[in-house]
Amino acid sequence: MGGPEWVTAVNLIIWTGLVLWISRLDRKIRDLERER
Amino acid sequence: MAATALAFKGLSRRFGPVRALVDASAEVEGGGILSVRGPNGCGKSTLLRCLAGLLRPDRGTIAARERGRELASDERRSRVGYVAPDVAFYDELSGRENLRLYSRLRGLPPGRGEILLERLGLAGERPFHAMSSGMRQRLRWAFALLHAPDILLLDEPFQNFDAAGERAARELLAERLAAGALAVVASPSDVALPRVAGELLLGG
């Protein structure tokens, strides 16, 4: 626990979650734009 | 094509949700008056502020020409004669001192102010804060006509006047119109206006 592998894994998970969340936002905004 | 003319097309301005001015268009040439009528809050004052360059419209265009010269909006602001209820001057200064200040700012000889004070029956010594509403309205006319403008924007020009005040103001207005100036006058419908060349009714 606490070694570089663990830290890298945690960072990768956070980063992946962030990109997924932003992509979802991107899609939501595209729907809003298409609404007009 | 008249030497002096003012034309505006599709002028609109909102203040947040409130549509103060919606798609106003009209034009007027030197020697005539454009009479702007409509209920309270229909955008008469907003229109005049836009024409005076004191407010930027959201949409629409304003084209002004003075004695054959096209005026950009900044230049137009310095050339118009603008009378409106919310125009105020410096409380601490007298009528004469206020006019002298604006004469210096416009690069005019002080004599202009003196003539207008006299024509409008204004005692120059009384400080602005001590003036009655009628006297303040006279001073607004004196300020607006200091530089003998060819484009007059008059928002409720005869409010607070007594008979003498209104007569003096109407004389000065007639002189400017005879000299080829144009005027856009926003006033309640019961005010009679000379030489009305056009009418703009704002919905509100």
């Binding site: 980063w15 992946t16 905004i29 | 959201d58």
Partner: protein
């Protein structure tokens, strides 16, 4: 296409994260692994600077151009994001300071520069709240953002050199001279690039959202 952009950004930063913890060497003179935080602290601080400069440029475009509301929205979006990245930079900086010098905050000149910059753009956001009329809000906040372009260099370069003289004791600054090895430099640049792309992606999203909101208010643009 958008999916490809998101995927490549994800991959790029994934590699950066791996490299930061495995491939890049440790900087000399740092306690344990603490120098690794630099691969995130420096780029984030850099991106907040880029964001605030973007706001300044967009504001110049707004004022000098046709007062296009899009530039105003873009400037406001850049400032909001700039503040997020500035907070991240401050937090990572404080963590690192805690490890290096035992205290989260010791008015290290660079810390004071980023904090005062955050104060500046917090004032920008406060100004936007204080003005109701759209065009006036845009015009006046744009002026303050452009003034930011003039003030920021003094905040970033003059204030730190002064050691923030309101705090008399001279401040030891171990990271002043950072001998950067080539591999470290590679990761640092890659990370900065990744975060910059992330910023412009978020900025684009915020702008598009603003446009939709504006269209809804106006009825029709």
């Amino acid at each position: 296409m958008k999916r490809l952009l998101a995927l490549s950004l994800w991959l790029w930063m994934a590699v950066v994260i791996w490299a930061a913890f495995h491939w890049a060497p440790l900087a000399a003179g740092f306690k344990g692994e603490s120098s690794r935080i630099l691969f995130f602290h420096v780029p984030v601080a850099w991106v907040s600077f880029v964001a605030f400069m973007t706001a300044g440029v967009e504001s110049v475009l707004y004022l000098a151009g046709r007062r296009d509301p899009r530039h105003d929205r873009s400037a406001a979006a850049a400032v909001e994001l700039g503040q997020v990245f500035a907070v991240l930079a401050t937090v990572t900086g404080a963590i690192w300071a805690r490890i290096m010098w035992g205290s989260y905050w010791n008015w290290d000149p660079r810390q004071s520069a980023i904090v005062v910059t955050m104060l500046y753009y917090a004032a920008y956001l406060a100004l936007r709240q204080a003005i109701a009329d759209g065009p006036s809000r845009a015009r006046l906040s744009a002026a303050y953002a452009v003034l930011g372009l003039v003030v920021s260099p003094f905040l970033y370069f003059v204030l730190p050199r002064l050691g923030f003289s309101l705090h008399p004791e001279p401040v030891i600054n171990a990271a002043g001279k950072l001998e950067v090895e080539s591999r470290m430099l590679a990761v640092l640049t890659a990370s900065s690039l990744g975060f910059t792309v992330l910023f412009y992606w978020l900025h684009a999203l915020r702008r598009r959202l603003g446009a939709v909101a504006a269209r809804r208010d106006e009825g029709v643009e």
